[in-house]
Symmetry: C2
Subunit: 401 residues, 2 copies
C-alpha cells in the first residue's frame, strides 16, 4: 500500500494557493503571470520529486516518471476563473504529485502527473487536455480570441521556445485519473466523503429569442401589442413543468440570463432573449428536452403570432467514465471505511477529453456548502487527505495485475 503524506499534500496545496491569491481564493487566468509562475513552481516541485518535468508551449505542465511505463496519468488543471477557489483543479494536480512522489519513495515508477492549461475556457475550454490528446487544429487556435481580443495562436507562437507539446502516449499511459471537488452539495447533504463519477453530463445550450415591436406602453392598447417580452415570459414559465415531466432524477436545467430590448419601463419590448441549458448523462433525455423546448416555443409563436427562434449554441455529449477504473476507486474507498457515492458530474472536466483516448475515472471530495468558483470554496482538510489516500489506493489496484 502507498501511504501518502497528508501534511505534505496540504502544504503544497497552500503554497500553490499563494499564486494569484485573492483573500481566501485565487485568480489565475491562463497565461497570466500568476498562472505561469504557479506552473513554474509546480514544474520545480515535480522535478524535486524526481519527475522529468517541463512546461509545453500550450502551458501544460507534464511530469513523467523515469522509465518506459506503464504509468497511470493523474492530473487536472491549475488555471482558475476570476476570483475562484483555491482547490478546484489544483486539488487533482497536487493529488497526482503526492501520489507519484509517495510511490517513487517506495521505488514504484508508475505515475505521471499533469496540469492542463485553460480547462476553464478563458480562451478555449479544455485547451490543454485537447492539445495533449492531439485533438486541436491550428485553425481553431487562430480563430480563438482571448481576453483583450488577442488570438490564442499568437500567445502559443510566442511560447515556441518551450519545445515540443506534451502528448499522451498510448504505449505508456494505461489510465487517466482525476480528482476534483464536487462543486455541488450532494456529498455533503448525504454525509458521504468520496464520490466516484459514473459519467460527465452532456449539455445542450440554447438561445431563445422573440422578435416583436416596440410601442409606447401607455398609448398602445393591450390587444394591439406585439410584445416580445410577454411572449418570452410565457415560454420561460412553461419550461419547469414541461421539462420536469420528461426529466430524469438527475436532470438539471437553467435559465441563466434574460433580457429585453430596448429594456425601458414604458416601452413594449421589441425583442427578448434568454439562455436555456439542460444537462444529463442520458442523451435520450437531452434529445427529448430539445423537442419539448421547440414545442413550447412553437406554441407560443403561433398563439402570439410573433417569430420565436431557438438556436442551439452549444452541445456537449455525455461521456461515460471507465467502469473498471471507477470500480477501483469505489473499492479503494471501501478499503478506507467509506461507502463511495456513485454520481454524475454536472460540470465538465478534463477527464471528458481524456476519456476519448484512455480509460478514465474521477474521484470527488465534498464541497463545503456546495460552493465552487468563488473565494469561499473549501473542503475539510481530513476530506482532502482521505481523497488523496483513496486515489493512491486505487492506483495500486489498477497497476496490480
Amino acid at each position: 500500500m502507498t501511504h501518502i503524506d497528508g501534511a505534505r499534500l496540504l502544504t503544497d496545496l497552500r503554497d500553490l494557493a499563494r499564486f494569484g491569491q485573492v483573500s481566501t481564493g485565487v485568480t489565475r487566468l491562463p497565461f497570466s503571470s500568476d498562472d505561469l509562475s504557479a506552473r513554474e513552481w509546480l514544474r520545480a516541485r515535480m522535478a524535486a520529486a524526481g519527475l522529468a518535468a517541463s512546461i509545453d508551449p500550450y502551458g501544460n505542465v507534464y511530469g513523467a516518471v523515469p522509465g518506459a511505463g506503464p504509468a497511470v496519468l493523474i492530473g487536472s488543471h491549475t488555471d482558475t476563473v476570476p476570483q475562484g477557489g483555491w482547490l478546484d483543479g489544483a486539488l487533482g494536480v497536487m493529488y497526482g504529485l503526492e501520489i507519484a512522489r509517495a510511490r517513487l519513495e517506495q521505488g514504484q515508477r508508475d505515475v505521471d502527473v499533469v496540469s492542463f492549461m485553460d480547462e476553464e475556457g478563458t480562451y478555449l475550454s479544455f485547451l490543454g487536455s485537447r492539445t495533449f490528446c492531439g485533438g486541436m487544429t491550428d485553425q481553431e487556435l487562430e480563430r480563438t480570441k482571448g481576453p483583450g481580443g488577442r488570438a490564442l495562436a499568437e500567445v502559443i507562437r510566442e511560447r515556441k521556445s518551450f519545445g515540443a507539446p506534451a502528448r499522451l502516449d498510448r504505449d505508456r499511459h494505461v489510465a487517466y485519473l482525476e480528482a476534483h471537488i464536487e462543486q455541488g452539495p450532494r456529498l455533503e447533504a448525504a454525509q458521504q466523503r468520496i464520490g466516484v463519477v459514473s459519467a460527465i453530463v452532456g449539455i445542450h445550450r440554447y438561445r431563445v429569442s422573440v422578435e416583436g415591436q416596440a410601442n409606447h406602453a401607455g398609448t398602445t392598447p393591450m390587444s394591439m401589442r406585439r410584445d416580445a417580452g410577454a411572449t418570452l415570459i410565457g415560454i420561460a414559465a412553461e419550461v419547469p413543468q414541461r421539462f420536469a415531466a420528461e426529466a430524469g432524477a438527475e436532470t438539471v436545467w437553467n435559465i441563466g440570463s434574460m433580457s429585453f430590448s430596448p429594456g425601458v419601463t414604458n416601452v413594449v419590448p421589441a425583442a427578448a432573449t434568454m439562455s436555456v441549458e439542460f444537462r444529463d448523462t442520458d442523451v435520450k433525455i437531452l434529445d427529448k428536452l430539445d423537442g419539448v423546448l421547440q414545442d413550447i416555443a412553437a406554441a407560443h409563436s403561433r398563439a402570439r403570432r410573433l417569430p420565436v427562434e431557438t438556436s442551439l449554441v452549444m452541445r456537449a455529449e455525455p461521456v461515460k467514465m471507465d467502469e473498471r477504473m471507477a470500480q477501483a476507486i469505489a473499492t479503494a474507498a471501501q478499503g478506507r471505511g467509506e461507502a463511495a457515492r456513485i454520481m454524475a458530474s454536472g460540470a465538465g472536466h478534463d477527464a471528458q477529453i481524456l476519456a476519448q483516448c484512455l480509460p478514465a475515472a474521477m474521484l470527488f471530495v465534498p464541497s463545503i456548502g456546495g460552493r465552487s468558483h468563488t473565494v469561499t470554496e473549501n473542503t475539510r482538510d481530513e476530506d482532502i487527505v482521505l481523497g488523496c489516500q483513496v486515489l493512491a489506493d486505487a492506483v495500486e489496484r489498477i497497476l496490480t495485475p
Copy 2:
C-alpha cells in the same frame, strides 16, 4: 369663425423641424443648441405675429397677446426625445401660434401661446409647465442631474439674464388647450380624425426584485436551488391573467425590462429584477392592481421561500380634463363634420400639470401606424390642418359667452 391658414401652419411646422433634423425626425434635447435655436426661432415667429414674446430662464417660450385678457393659453413643448418625431409637442405649439395669429388678424386679442421646456423629462419631466404653474422648488432643481451629470439648477442659473420666469396669470388665463398627436393606434384603427381627451392616465411603476443564491447550474440539484430567475419568471407569468381579471377596458400594463444577475448561462441566478407599470384613468383600478401585484409576489415568495421585494418607484395620479372645455372641442369637431372620439391619454402631457390650476383640455390627431418618439412618426397633412381648425373653433366657443 376663425379661419386658420393651413398652408402657413404646415410651413411653420416644417421650418421648425429643421432644428435638430435627423432624417425624417428631430433630436432637440432640452437646453441643447438645437433646442435653444428652435426656441429663438419660435420667439421671433411669435413676435412677427404680434405677440409679446420672450424666453424665460427655464427655456419656456411665452408669447402674450397685447391686452389684459381674458386669454386662452394654447401650447405644448418643442423639446424632443433623442431621434424623436417632427410633430409630437411641436404640433400643439404651432397650433397655438397659428390660432393666435389668425385671431389677431381678425382683431381678436385673446390667445396666448407657450412652448414649455423639457416635457420629455431629459432632466425633469414637465420642468417648464411646472415652473410656469409655480410648482417647482429650488431643492428639486438642485437635486436633478441632467445628461453628463450637470445639475439642472446650474443650467438655470447660467440663464438668469433671461429675466423673470413666465408665469400663469389666473386673472388673465381662462383655459389651457393642448393639441398633440395621439401617439397610439386607436384613432387610425377607428378611422376617426379628432380625439378629445377625457383624462390623462395615472401611472404606477414598480420594481420587483427577487433575491436568491448563485449556484453552479450543472452541479446543484434542482431541489436545492434558490433560483431568483425562475421565481421572477413565475411572478411575471401570472401578471397578464391576474391583471386582466381586474382591469378596465382601457387599462394597460407593461413589463418593459427584466434582467438576471450574474446573468450567465451556467449559473443559477442570484438576483432577478423587472419593471412593472400599469396605467388607467381610474385610481380604483390602479389601487386594485397594486394589491394584485403584491399578492402574486407574496405567493411566489412563500412558495419558493425567497425574499421578493416590490418597490413603487413612481406614482402619477390620473388627471381629469375639464368637461366644458372638452365638450367645446367635441362640438367644434362636429361642426366640421367629424365625430370626435372621447378617449383617455395613455401618455403624460403638460396639460396634466396645467389642469391643476386652470380648466384644461386636449385634442388628438391620428398618428400614422400609431408611431411616436421615432423619426417615422407622422400625421396626414389634412389631419394636421383639420385639428388646428377644430381647436380654433373650440377657442371661439370657449371665449364666446
